[in-house]
C-alpha cells in the first residue's frame, strides 16, 4: 500500500466544551518519519493524539490519517486499524492481566471483537511479537509485576502486534528511571528504520528525543511549529 502522508491536518480548530486548544493549526507528517512532539503541560499534545485517533472531532479543518479522511465512523475505524497507540501509563495497574493477553488485546478491532474471538492467526502474531521483543519468558507473568521498562516493552509489543503503519506514543518514559528511559527510544528507532513505521512521540525529555527524531515539533499557543528537522524533505 502506498503512503504519502502519515498525518495531514489543515486548519484544525478543536477544544473541550467551548475552550479552544488548537486554532487553525496545520501539521503534515510523511510516512516513515520519526517525529518528536514537545511542549508545556496542558498545551494540547495529547489532544492532538485524540484528534489523530478520531476520539475528538474537530470544530473546523480537515484531518487525514494514512490517506484516510477522518470523517465517518467507518473511515475512523479504517484508520484506527493501522494505528498503534501507547497511552500515558498513569493508571495504577489494578487489573491482573498476563503479558500474553496484554499484547493480544492490541489486535482488538483489527482482527477480533465482541462476537469474533481471537483466531489462530492472532495467537501466532502475538507469539511472534513476544519472541521479537524478548518477552516470551514472561508470557504468563502478571503485567502488574513487571518492571517499568518491561511494561513499556509490552506496550510497544501490543502496538506492533496490530501491524500498524503509524505509532503514537504518549510520554512513554515518564514513569521510568533514567537507565530504563534509555531503552525505549532505541527500540522505537530501530522499528522505524527496519519496518518504516511512522512514529510520533510526545515527551518532556526534549534532549533525549532529539537524538532519535528526524523531526521535532512543538505545540504552543494553539499552533504546531517545527523546531528542527533532519529528514529530507522537511
Amino acid at each position: 500500500m502506498t503512503c504519502g502522508k502519515a498525518v495531514e491536518i489543515r486548519g484544525l480548530s478543536v477544544g473541550y466544551d467551548k475552550r479552544p486548544i488548537f486554532h487553525a493549526a496545520d501539521l503534515s507528517m510523511g510516512c516513515g518519519e520519526f517525529v518528536g512532539l514537545v511542549g508545556p503541560n496542558g498545551v494540547g499534545k495529547t489532544t492532538l493524539f485524540k484528534v489523530i485517533l478520531g476520539l475528538l472531532r474537530p470544530w473546523a479543518g480537515s484531518v487525514e490519517v494514512l490517506g484516510v479522511p477522518m470523517k465517518t465512523p467507518r473511515q475512523i475505524n479504517q484508520a484506527r486499524r493501522q494505528i498503534g497507540y501507547l497511552p500515558q501509563q498513569n493508571q495504577a495497574g489494578k487489573l491482573p492481566i498476563t503479558v500474553y493477553d496484554s499484547v493480544l488485546i492490541g489486535r482488538w478491532g483489527s482482527s477480533f471483537s465482541a462476537f469474533r474471538r481471537p483466531s489462530a492467526a492472532d495467537k501466532a502474531a502475538v507469539n511472534d511479537v513476544l519472541q521479537r521483543f524478548g518477552l516470551s519468558p514472561y508470557r504468563h507473568y502478571d503485567w502488574r509485576a513487571l518492571s517499568g521498562g518491561l511494561q513499556q516493552r509490552v506496550a510497544l509489543a501490543r502496538a506492533i502486534v496490530r501491524q500498524p503503519r503509524l505509532i503514537l506514543m504518549d510520554e512513554p518514559t515518564t514513569y521510568l528511571d533514567r537507565e530504563t528511559q534509555k531503552e525505549i527510544y532505541p527500540i522505537a528507532s530501530e522499528l522505524n528504520r527496519s519496518s518504516g513505521i511512522t512514529f510520533v512521540i510526545i515527551s518532556h525529555d526534549q534532549g533525549t528525543l532529539e537524538r532519535y527524531a528526524s523531526r521535532m515539533m512543538m505545540v504552543t499557543g494553539s499552533k504546531i511549529e517545527e523546531i528542527s528537522c533532519r529528514s529530507s524533505p522537511c
Partner: protein
C-alpha cells in the same frame, strides 16, 4: 431431626439458591468496583434506595420496589452525569448521595413518615424471598455472566486502560454504563438478600480475595465466583450448625475468606522472594 433438615423447606431452598448463585455471579461486579475504585458509588446507590423507599412510603407504593427502582435509576444516571459534568464517578456519587439523603429527610419530615419505616429498606432477609425475587435474581446473575463472557475482551480492555480501549475502537462509555447499571441492580438485589450493611459480603469481598491472587481477568472471574460460592455455602452451613443469623454468617465467611486470602498472598510473596531468579520480573501478582 438434624439442623440441615430445614433445607427441605421451600423458603430455605430459595434462600440457599439465591445466596449461592448471587455470590457466584453478582460478585463478578466486585472486580469492576475495585479496579475502577467505585466504592463511593455503592453508598450513593444505597442512599438513592433510601430516597426511593421514602417516595414509596409517601405515595403509598411498595417501598422496597420503589427503593430498587431508585437504585436502578441512579445507576443509569451516574455515568452520564459524571461524564457531562466532568466529575469523576466518585465525586458524582457524593453529589447523588448527599442530595438524595437531603431530599429523603425533607420528604420524611413533610409526609410525617417514621424514619425507621424508610430505613427498613436497608434491612433485608434472604428467608423472606419470594419465587419472583429468586427468578429476578437468577435472571440478573445470568445477564452479568453473559455480559462478562460476550464482552470479555472489551471489559478486559476497559478495565486495563480506558484510553487505550477507546483508541482501539471499543465503545468504552456503553460498557462502563452497562456495568454501572448491573452494579446498581446487584446492590438493590443484594440489599434484599442480606441488607444494606452486608451488601459487600456478596458484591465485594470475593473479588477482594481473588484480584491479588489472579494473573488474568479470566482467573479473577473464576476465582471470584468460586470464592463467592464457597463462602456462601460455608456461611449457610455455619448458620445452620450454630444457629447464627444467615446473613451475618455469610458475611463472616466472606471476611474470613479475605483474611485467608491475605495470608496466602503473604506466603506466596515470601516464597517468591526466596525463589526469585528473574532480575526484572516476578511471576504472579506481588505488589510493586
Amino acid at each position: 431431626m438434624s439442623q440441615f433438615s430445614v433445607l427441605t423447606l421451600p423458603f430455605m431452598q430459595r434462600a440457599v439458591v439465591a445466596l449461592v448463585f448471587s455470590s457466584m455471579t453478582l460478585s463478578l461486579l466486585g472486580i469492576v468496583v475495585l479496579v475502577f475504585n467505585l466504592a463511593a458509588v455503592r453508598f450513593a446507590l444505597m442512599h438513592m434506595g433510601l430516597l426511593g423507599a421514602t417516595v414509596g412510603l409517601a405515595t403509598g407504593t411498595d417501598p422496597t420496589m420503589a427503593g430498587l427502582a431508585a437504585i436502578t435509576g441512579g445507576a443509569f444516571l451516574l455515568g452520564p452525569v459524571s461524564d457531562r459534568t466532568r466529575l469523576d464517578t466518585g465525586a458524582a456519587s457524593a453529589f447523588f448521595m448527599t442530595g438524595s439523603l437531603a431530599i429523603a429527610f425533607i420528604l420524611l419530615y413533610k409526609a410525617n413518615i417514621p424514619a425507621m419505616d424508610a430505613f427498613s429498606v436497608f434491612t433485608g432477609s434472604v428467608l423472606m424471598l419470594t419465587p419472583t425475587d429468586m427468578w429476578t435474581l437468577l435472571l440478573l446473575g445470568t445477564c452479568v455472566v453473559l455480559a462478562m463472557v460476550i464482552w470479555y475482551w472489551e471489559i478486559n480492555l476497559v478495565l486495563y486502560n480506558r484510553d487505550l480501549a477507546a483508541a482501539l475502537g471499543v465503545n468504552t462509555r456503553l460498557i462502563y454504563y452497562v456495568l454501572l447499571v448491573f452494579l446498581g441492580l446487584a446492590i438493590g438485589i443484594a440489599m434484599k438478600l442480606v441488607g444494606a450493611l452486608m451488601v459487600d459480603a456478596i458484591v465485594l469481598l470475593p473479588a477482594m480475595v481473588a484480584l491479588p491472587l489472579s494473573r488474568s481477568l479470566r482467573q479473577a472471574l473464576l476465582l471470584t465466583s468460586l470464592i463467592g460460592g464457597a463462602s456462601s455455602m460455608v456461611g449457610i452451613a455455619a448458620s445452620l450448625t450454630w444457629d447464627w443469623p444467615i446473613s451475618a454468617s455469610v458475611t463472616i465467611a466472606g471476611v474470613l475468606a479475605v483474611f485467608v486470602g491475605q495470608m496466602v498472598q503473604y506466603v506466596i510473596r515470601r516464597l517468591r522472594m526466596q525463589q526469585e531468579d528473574l532480575p526484572h520480573a516476578s511471576k504472579g501478582s506481588a505488589k510493586r
